[in-house]
Amino acid sequence: MWGFLLRRLGHAALVLLVVSTVTFAIVHAAPGGPSLLADPKLSVAEREAIESRLGLDQPIPVQYARWLSRLVRGDLGNSFLFESSNVSTIRSRLPNTLLLAGTALMLTMLVAIPLGAWSAERPGGWIDRVCNAFAFVAMSVPTFWLGIVLVLVFAVHWQLLPAGGASTVGVAGSVSDRLRHLTLPALVLATVGTAELFRYTRASARGVFGLAFVRTARAKGVSERGVRWRHGMRNALLPIVTVVGLQLPRLVGGAAITETVFSWPGMGRLGIEAALARDYPLVMAITLLVSAGVLVCSLLVDLAYFALDPRAHPDR
């Protein structure tokens, strides 16, 4: 097990290095350049002063070497946009994203997995039909459209819930206020994920429920509940874990469209802002964080596999 973890750690370091190099090359190759230099009113002298202050007058390999040497010393650099450290910028956004994406993921799992299992048990039954219809619609509706419709209905028309933001400005952190702001974006963010996960769960469970060992379990007199959950679903969960694992990086990366529609101060919007403004240091910092998040999530998925399926365990 420890050897496995060490190997994975080595892989992770390598992957991060490759990702950072490629990202650095891509962001510098993108047309335009840092937005603070894209002001047509800047004089040549002003532009040169800014370039030299930010080190942009150096050749790109030198800039990369400088960035890397700072990174090794634990310094993620300063943002062009915010004129402040990237760590503090990310730290101010990450909790909001964890809250929103975490809530959405919980909702997704709590709704999709039981419904998927029920649907699989009686394919063609009314639960199955209703859920499938819902999943079909939910997967087809564009996120921004759903978001704006919900805002128009619940915030503009009925005025039940706030139209945007993570909390009412000036109201000191009340839980109910945070929940009210969280409801619509979490619902929107959970919708597509729920539909996808429902379809996967249903397909996976249907496959497993038809297998011989399930029949054997029934034949030896295990209760229907036990058949479904202890024998059936435990095996059906393997592909589901992978699907959930794929959704996990959103916890750090944020969901750009949902965050934009609900002006939610999270990582997704920050990433978009940084990319549009060609804020090289911030783009690099976010990319590194999200890549690390993806690596951690895929490790978690593997560990979950070991727990669910002893045959996959590395020490076996």
Binding site: G32, G33, F82, I148, G165
Partner: protein, 545 residues
């Protein structure tokens, strides 16, 4: 320059209007309607004003609290409130006293002496003095400070403290726009908090705890979400009415509109393409204000195709500006006569007739310089080369994209083949406009409220991106900067305006009006663009209907 909005705005609104009955019906508010609402909004200021209340304004990006280093719209809006300048513009955009109670200009125009208003304190309680003014101007002209106001104040030679409340700013040459620029983006910074380190490194000040002298001070900053300002009880001017001003960071225009309609925002600015969604909404008034901007098609005069003034004049006649003003701007723009916008009334010559839409005359003019129509109607020169070029426009802004499309279609009608290319604004500017790698592009200038356009249209200047050069214009623009007498200046800029009719530096499309969608609860907003209006935040008040 304002940043462009997401490309899918138009799509969203279209889809919404079709599907949900909650989306409002189309149709535009007429100019007369708006003028009436504007009167209502200002009339009510005269009556009794209630104190208290919170005003909520949309902001598109996180601000940097420092007027000297931050040029973006979000920062400018906040800094106008937090950091007053020596003067501020009145509704006619003329400088009036602010931190300075009065001033005198030397007869030779080479220095200005300001008598500061006594008894002003910074938000932290420290006294404001001439030292702060000197510190700010030293920073502005320092090439290493990160100052974005350096080229505005290139004429400044230095600042002398005469006593604690008197300061003299010395100029290298007489500089007529000086006072106007002082009231534009030039907020005064506190020396006692910022001395000793580059302005760009004062992170705690710039991002969280700025200290100014304005009517409201920063109470709380939530990155990516909001900036709350609270009334400054020590404000030197008339006591502010509002308790608080909250700036909510809402980058998406649809989200801004939704929050305005939900009563969660009181003031947003909208583009003509978004008008339908704020029109006829209960509790929302539409106001319009002419702003100091000109939108234009830039032709690269360094390219032989556009070198002749005759060609540029002909192109100007081939574009139907009134159709663009009506169709794209929904009437929220004024017809142009040169590059000096109509809002600068003291300098604008409205006796000049606007360039007519006359495609036939345009064709005749082009034929006179060798561009003749072939059998298929397209224009060719003597060598048989077709009149064809590419027109660049930034992606995502419906106003500019639709304008570029209209220009393309109008020019096609007289046989010119225009290829449209859209790209991100930063790519347009950095890769094409600044290095001069373009045939033509659609863009705009936002200028200080002064007719001085030396930086944009004088030969060889940094911002003369079209490479236009006209000797007479050069001497007029140089003279206009050093002439202090208003009547003489007026004559100079009117001569420049007439010259632009014969040798157009750019194809001016329109002077836009800013559209403000404002909650009917808000009163006391001066008739100024949002940036300048925020210089009067102490006059704003909230009254529940």
């Amino acid at each position: 320059m304002t940043t462009s909005r997401a490309a899918w705005c138009g799509m969203t609104l279209g889809a919404l209007a079709a599907v949900t009955s909650l989306a409002c019906e189309g149709g535009e508010k007429s100019a007369a309607d708006s003028a009436r609402s504007r009167r209502l909004a200002t009339d009510s200021v005269a009556g009794s004003v209630t104190s208290g209340g919170v005003l909520r304004i949309a902001l598109i990006n996180d601000p940097i609290f420092d007027p000297v280093i931050a040029p973006d719209l979000g920062s400018v809006m906040l800094n106008k409130i937090i950091f007053p300048g020596l003067v501020r513009p009145d509704e006619q955009l003329r400088p009036t006293p602010d931190l300075a109670a009065s001033w005198t200009a030397a007869d030779d125009g080479l220095s200005y002496t300001f008598a500061l208003r006594p008894g002003i304190t910074w938000h932290d309680g420290a006294p404001f003095s001439a030292r702060d003014v000197k510190f700010t101007f030293d920073q502005i002209i320092d090439p290493t400070s990160g100052s974005r106001l350096r080229s505005d104040f290139a004429a400044v030679a230095g600042t002398d403290i005469l006593d604690s409340l008197t300061v003299r700013i010395r100029l290298k040459t007489p500089f007529a726009p000086f006072l106007t620029l002082l009231g534009y983006n030039t907020g005064i910074l506190p020396e006692h908090l910022l001395k000793g380190a580059p302005l760009t490194q004062a992170t705690d000040f710039n991002r969280r705890h700025p200290v100014g002298t304005g009517p409201f001070k920063v109470e709380e900053v939530v990155p990516g979400a909001s900036v709350s300002l609270v009334r400054n009880p020590r404000y030197y001017g008339a006591p502010p009415h509002l308790d608080r001003i909250v700036f909510k960071i809402v980058s998406d225009v649809n989200a801004q509109v939704a929050q305005l309609r939900a009563g969660e925002l009181d003031l947003i600015t909208v583009e003509p393409a978004t008008l339908a969604s704020v029109h006829d909404v209960k509790g929302v008034t539409l106001l319009q204000v002419p702003v100091v901007q000109h939108y234009y098609v830039a032709f690269n005069v360094a390219r032989p195709m556009f070198a002749s003034p005759v060609v540029r004049r002909a192109l100007g006649m081939a574009v139907d500006r009134n159709a663009i003003i009506k169709g794209v701007m929904r009437g929220y723009a004024d017809a142009p006569r040169g590059t000096i916008p109509v809002v600068l009334r003291a300098f604008f010559d409205d006796s000049i007739a606007p360039i007519p839409y006359a495609p036939d005359s345009a064709r005749a003019l082009l034929a006179s310089v060798g561009w003749t129509a072939g059998t298929d109607g397209t224009l060719h020169n003597a060598k048989g080369a077709p009149f064809a070029f590419s027109l660049l426009v930034d992606k995502g802004n419906p106003t500019r994209e639709q304008t570029a499309l209209a220009v393309q279609q109008d020019l096609r009608k007289i046989g010119i083949n225009v290829t449209l290319r859209t790209m991100e604004f930063s790519a347009l500017v950095r890769d094409h406009v600044l290095p001069g790698k373009f045939d033509a592009h659609v863009i705009w200038w936002t200028t200080p409220p002064d007719p001085d356009q030396y930086a944009f249209y004088h030969t060889g200047q940094d911002n003369n991106n079209v490479r236009w050069s006209n000797r007479t214009a050069d001497s007029l623009l140089s003279l206009g900067r050093v002439t202090m007498d208003v009547a003489k200046r007026r004559a100079i800029y009117r001569a420049f305006q007439r010259l632009e009719m014969d040798d157009p530096p750019v194809l001016v499309l329109f002077y836009p009006r800013e559209i403000q969608a404002v909650s009917t609860r808000l009163h006391g907003l001066p008739s100024l663009g949002i940036r300048d209006a925020l210089r009067y935040s102490e006059r704003f008040s909230i009254r529940e209907p």
